[in-house]
């Protein structure tokens, strides 16, 4: 009866039986495939396609940064640009032997300084001697970013190809899961290159900016003097105390050698007169903490691989100088891209905090060293 009145719903029961039968058949076949490992193969192919699309983005980032550096160098009249780029993009640093720890920090310092000097020499030679130091420093930093992107790209490609070659689905799966994290870093580097090329200060400049504000705020007695490569200090007066402010020499992109500078200052002055060393630096915030908030602690606030930091620690131990640290909190991306307003506000708070610390923890007549740690791009003295 129903069949006669409705051609659509009438045959419903027959159609439904067929559909259910086919679905059962398909799911049976699929589960057999899953046992045979076919499903994993499909999954591997999907992962591979997704990783490859991200790899293309990474390659793009690298090529764009490389082209940007090439354009800048060519505009400045550099010679052998291609050669400079090839050397810098594949430049590597071998970490020192660590199973014999004696002197490891000295060896690491030697290796890192050689890298820095070599890259600077590479750019200087290509540009000729007349070129501005700021241009050289910024070009070297851009080359370092291109290098980091190149190495990251090659590393991810390597893991993917190894995973496929050895049919290691787990390796590819692991890479696929970690990829968002790597892409976040790559994007931050890429954004950083745009900012650094224009000479805009980055978040990491918080330390040097604090030092600059302190220098402008307190009456100057002496300086600024370049005490060691790319690092300056000046002497100021505050509440009958002598405040020696140390920072990297701006406005080129450099972190200077704050450890060596502090060491030299303590050793050339009468050591007993140094009442405390205060380091101000950008610090990675935890997820959820507000950008630009500050915190006080102890130790040396410095994000270097070790050689500079240890110099301050050693000199402080030798002369029993208390170490105070002020951290200006920010995220990883914020530290290497254009400085945000919240961070500038945080810097002002950090300066006030340092001044309070000086008044509270030292006596009139004392000498205090304040170090603004970080990359001083776009911040002079």
């Amino acid at each position: 009866m129903a069949n006669a009145t409705s051609p659509w719903f009438g045959g419903g029961s027959d159609l439904a039986t067929w559909i259910i039968a086919i679905s059962i058949l398909i799911s049976t076949i699929l589960s057999i495939f899953a046992f045979l490992g076919v499903a994993q193969g499909f999954q591997l192919r999907i992962w591979k396609a997704q990783i490859e699309s991200k790899l293309r983005i990474l390659e793009n980032y690298r090529d764009e940064v490389r082209d940007e550096v090439r354009k800048r160098l060519e505009k400045l009249g550099a010679r052998n640009v291609e050669e400079v780029l090839n050397t810098a993009l594949d430049y590597f640093v071998i970490s020192p032997v660590s199973i014999e720890p004696t002197d490891i920090i000295k060896r690491l310092e030697r290796v890192l300084r050689t890298e820095e000097e070599r890259l600077e020499a590479l750019v200087t030679r290509s540009l000729g001697s007349k070129v501005d130091d700021v241009v050289v420093k910024n070009s070297v930093t851009l080359l370092a970013i291109a290098n980091a992107l190149n190495i990251l790209y090659k590393y991810i490609r390597h893991i993917l190809l190894t995973g496929i070659k050895t049919r290691n689905a787990l390796l590819v799966a692991q890479l696929w899961m970690l990829l968002p994290f790597y892409m976040r870093i790559a994007k931050a580097y890429y954004d950083a290159s745009k900012v650094i090329a224009r000479g805009v200060p980055i978040g990491d400049a918080a330390g040097p900016l604090a030092a600059y504000k302190l220098m402008k705020m307190l009456p100057r007695i002496e300086g600024p003097v370049e005490i060691t490569k790319d690092t300056i200090y000046s002497v100021h007066e505050y509440e009958n105390r002598r405040v020696i402010v140390v920072k990297a020499k701006g406005p080129g992109s450099t972190v200077g050698r704050p450890g060596e500078a502090v060491e030299k200052i303590v050793e050339t002055l009468s050591p007993s007169s140094i009442a405390s060393i205060i380091t101000i630096d950008a610090a990675l915030k935890m997820e959820g903490e507000p950008t630009g908030s500050i915190a006080e602690g102890t130790g040396v606030a410095m994000g270097d691989p070790g050689p500079e930091k240890i110099r301050i620690e050693r000199i402080a131990v030798r002369h029993k100088i208390p170490l105070y640290a002020i951290a200006i909190k920010m995220g990883l991306e914020e530290a290497i891209t254009a400085i945000k307003k919240e961070i500038v506000v945080g810097v002002e708070k950090a300066v006030e905090h340092a001044k309070r610390l000086i008044v509270e923890e030292t006596r009139p007549g004392d000498t205090i060293i304040v170090v603004g740690v970080g990359n001083t791009l776009g911040v002079a003295q």
């Binding site: 159609l15 039986t17 891209t337 945000k340 500038v344 002079a380």
Partner: protein, 116 residues
């Protein structure tokens, strides 16, 4: 009613799958439409004598501590760059800016089509 149990089951399945597909398409389109806020770098100029401050867009070559050509309207001395920072343009400004940009691209497209 003409509906038996099987047809009812079939119909609900079809409706469910259509709803799911529609939701997925909408979700994809939605996430694509979301763009990060536009950003702008600002330079703060300050008179070291009277504390007068003024902001302007960042220009290449600016750095904190640089003495610029602009002078203080009160003291007549050169201003110094006191801070440089990045600001995201949000709210009404962002809306206006995006609208202007869209209009510009549309005009460009029209011009291109007209010339070719």
């Amino acid at each position: 009613m003409n509906l038996d149990l099987y047809t009812l089951y079939m119909l609900s399945m079809v409706i469910l799958s259509i709803a799911m597909v529609a939701y997925m398409i909408l979700a994809t389109l939605g996430s694509r439409g979301k763009r990060e806020p536009e950003k702008k770098v600002i330079t703060v100029l300050r008179c070291s004598k009277c504390g007068y401050t003024r902001t302007r867009d960042f220009k290449e070559g600016d750095y904190v501590g640089k003495v610029v050509d602009e002078v203080c309207p009160k003291c007549g001395i050169n201003l110094v760059i006191d801070a440089i920072y990045e600001e995201s343009i949000t709210g009404l400004n962002q809306v206006l800016r995006n609208k202007r940009k869209r209009e510009r691209t549309r005009k460009r497209q029209v011009a291109r089509n007209g010339s070719s």
